[in-house]
């Protein structure tokens, strides 16, 4: 109970067709803007991007501002024809999405055949490492990108 929540930070992993942003810490009034900036920067930097994965396992509390930012990222991803995935959601986040009626919006993205394969590559650590090494020259972004 006395453990301080980990400081908010983001780790971005880029693969050929996908970007994965790992979120650690509370997503709230003070921090949510950082996530929006990062996601927006990735969306605009990669015109050919197909999938944006937000890795949520490390997320602490999400307040209304945090949810608002997730909705904004969803809207921008949609506009850029990028599929947004909220991966490894903790139960608390699922509950928030379910109460607010947004779970369906975040999970029922129009799926195309290609989506599943990209999802697989992004979520398999080995594949991610391999692809990340290939793209490193174009600019690694996270301090511990390979997790």
């Amino acid at each position: 109970m006395t453990i301080l929540p980990p400081a908010f930070h983001l780790t971005t992993v880029e693969t050929r067709h996908a970007v994965r942003i790992e979120i650690t810490g509370d997503l709230d009034y003070d921090t949510a803007d950082l996530l929006l900036e990062e996601a927006t920067a990735r969306l605009s930097a990669r015109p050919g991007l197909e999938d944006l994965h937000l890795h949520c396992a490390g997320i602490g509390m999400v307040d209304s501002m945090g949810l608002s930012i997730l909705l904004m990222i969803g809207r921008r991803a949609n506009a850029a024809r990028v599929r947004l995935h909220l991966d490894d959601r903790p139960a608390q986040l699922d509950r928030l999405l379910s109460i607010t009626g947004t779970l369906e919006y975040f999970t029922a993205q129009p799926a195309t055949g290609a989506a599943a394969t990209h999802l697989d590559t992004a979520e398999s650590p080995a594949a991610a490492t391999a692809t990340e090494r290939r793209t490193r020259a174009s600019g690694p972004t996270g301090p511990d990108a390979t997790t």
Partner: protein, 551 residues
């Protein structure tokens, strides 16, 4: 003695080597008779010829210094720590002495007029700086316009003039004036006058540079400008009080007839003071205007006081996140039905964000819902229209809310509930069980398409439906300080409220949440209770009109 006089003259004699020294030198004997003087002394004091009585030819201060020096005994004479000084022929001199072997005293006179003037100027400058610093700190410690004007008038009256008027820009046709006599207390009045009738005042109130005092005819001052028992005015200075972009008023300095007129330096200094006073007064005015605007805004945004409507009890309580803000992101409203017995619409919601921005969105939602009241039968339609009204391409600030339409049916109250992304309403049954209302839907204001499912619950007498915002369940506190109050704890607390009146339940929940929080920060917290009162149905007397109820 005689031989000494015989030697008197001007020149480089062996016992008087200072004939051409640049400083005036006078030599006098113990009897106070001048024996020798040099060229410079001759120029300064032409009457001081050798043989004259010192007291007759030099100013009194020097003669008496010589006398007391001789009385004290020549041996005891030492240079005093502060050199003797005094005026001679309109200039100021320091007098230094030296004892000579023959018992006479040589007085050296050093002109320090310029030094004195510089010292005097420095002292004045320091006094003025100290006064300006004191004025700034006194003026800036208040954000009250009236108090700022009082302080301005009083400080100026004590330092700059015999009487002072601080005049604020006209409000309508009235000119707020604070006047103060030197050493007196400021008095406030409203003058219905035209400032342009006074030369220089209209211009000063419009912020034009000040007119030099000598151009203003003191006798032209109107009666209202002259304090009682002041007598005729000798001189007037009118200086604008410059504000932040707009003039903050004018400062009028008055001197009595017979007092010294205002010098140019004094007028410049008055402007320096006016600059500080004007800044403070305009800050105070801005603050007052902001407070007034906030109050106007808040009057409309404050949650309403609830009561019984058409036989249904309503109670609400709201605690904003910062206690001094009073308004925030949570809201509730109860709109009575068009006719007696028609359902009343309750809306309780939570807007994303904090503070004034959230409060503005809250106001928008409350107004939109008010406009949509004719559609209150169809919650989904209301929510869809509200969602469309709130959608913005710039942001995804959303709101979650619950709509509840409550109407009395006999002893019972029927409540139609629709949640738009909001925590479930809770029903307290008479036996102490607490149920979640089965409604869910999408939040409004962020997504183009939303859906919501309505449910209907029936409350028996003494049963209640509780709407709340997540500020209650997300209250972090408890014995260890980091535990959420949570839905389960809320349900247990509500179970103990079975049969309580609506107001009691609302107060109880807010009290428990506050206790849980202790002094920690919290989000906005709002609770509304809809209760079926334990009341008796009075049947209609003639069988045609609608029945009435007692609480």
């Amino acid at each position: 003695m005689v031989s000494t006089r015989a030697q008197a003259g001007v020149g480089a004699e062996p016992d008087f080597p200072w004939g051409r020294a640049p400083y005036p030198v006078l030599v006098a004997d113990a009897a106070g008779v001048l024996t020798q003087r040099n060229e410079a002394a001759q120029v300064l004091l032409p009457a001081a010829c050798p043989g004259a009585e010192l007291a007759d030819v030099v100013p009194g201060w020097l003669a008496s210094a010589h006398r007391s020096m001789c009385l004290a005994g020549l041996e005891g004479g030492r240079e005093p720590e502060v050199p003797l000084s005094g005026g001679i022929e309109g200039r100021r001199f320091e007098a230094h002495f030296s004892l000579r072997g023959d018992g006479t005293v040589a007085w050296w006179l050093v002109d320090d007029t310029d030094h004195q003037l510089a010292r005097e100027a420095l002292r004045m400058e320091r006094e003025q700086t100290a006064f300006l610093a004191a004025a700034s700190s006194t003026l800036l410690s208040s954000l009250n316009l009236g108090r700022c004007m009082d302080v301005t008038a009083q400080m100026a009256a004590d330092h700059l003039a015999d009487a002072v008027l601080a005049i604020a820009p006209a409000r309508g046709r009235r000119l707020p004036v604070v006047s103060c006599l030197r050493g007196g207390t400021p008095t406030t009045s409203q003058e219905v006058v035209d400032p342009d009738e006074v030369p220089g005042l209209g211009e000063a109130l419009r912020g034009f540079p000040p007119v030099p005092s000598r151009w203003i005819d003191a006798s032209a001052a109107p009666r209202w400008m002259i304090p009682e028992d002041f007598g005729p005015i000798g001189a007037i200075v009118i200086t604008p009080l410059p504000g932040h972009g707009v003039p903050a008023g004018a400062l009028v300095l008055l001197r009595k007839e017979g007092s010294a007129a205002f010098t140019e330096e004094e007028e410049v200094f008055a402007r320096l003071f006016a600059a500080r006073a004007g800044a403070a007064m305009s800050a105070a005015r801005l603050y007052a205007e902001q407070t007034a605007i906030t109050e106007v805004l808040m009057r409309d945004l404050l949650p309403p006081v609830l009561h019984q409507i058409s036989g249904v009890d309503f109670a609400g309580s709201y605690r904003p996140s910062a206690d001094h803000e009073r308004i925030g992101g949570d809201f509730y409203d109860v709109h009575p039905g068009v006719a007696e017995g028609e359902p009343s619409l309750v809306a309780l919601g939570d807007v994303c964000g904090k503070g004034l921005e959230a409060a503005v969105l809250t106001g928008k939602i409350r107004n939109t819902l008010h406009a949509l009241l004719p559609l209150a039968d169809d919650h989904q339609r209301m929510l869809t229209l509200l969602n469309t009204a709130l959608l913005s391409s710039h942001h995804t600030r959303f709101a979650t809310l619950v709509l509840a339409s409550a109407a009395r049916k006999g002893n019972e109250v029927r409540v139609r509930l629709t949640s738009a992304g909001h925590p479930h309403p809770l029903i307290i049954r008479a036996n102490g069980t607490v149920e979640e209302a089965d409604t869910r839907g999408t939040l409004v204001g962020a997504l183009p398409d939303i859906s919501a499912r309505t449910t209907t619950v029936t409350l028996a007498p003494g049963e209640s439906c509780i709407l709340y915002t997540d500020g209650i369940t997300d209250a972090r506190g408890g014995p260890l300080g980091d535990v959420l109050f949570g839905e389960e704890r809320l349900k247990r607390a509500l179970a103990e409220c079975a049969g309580m009146p609506a107001e009691g339940i609302v107060e109880h929940v807010q009290m428990l949440a506050s206790q849980w929080l202790g002094n920690r920060d919290h989000d906005d917290m709002a609770v509304v209770a809809i209760s079926a009162p334990r009341s008796h149905h009075l049947s209609a007397v003639d069988g045609h009109t609608r029945g009435r109820y007692t609480a």
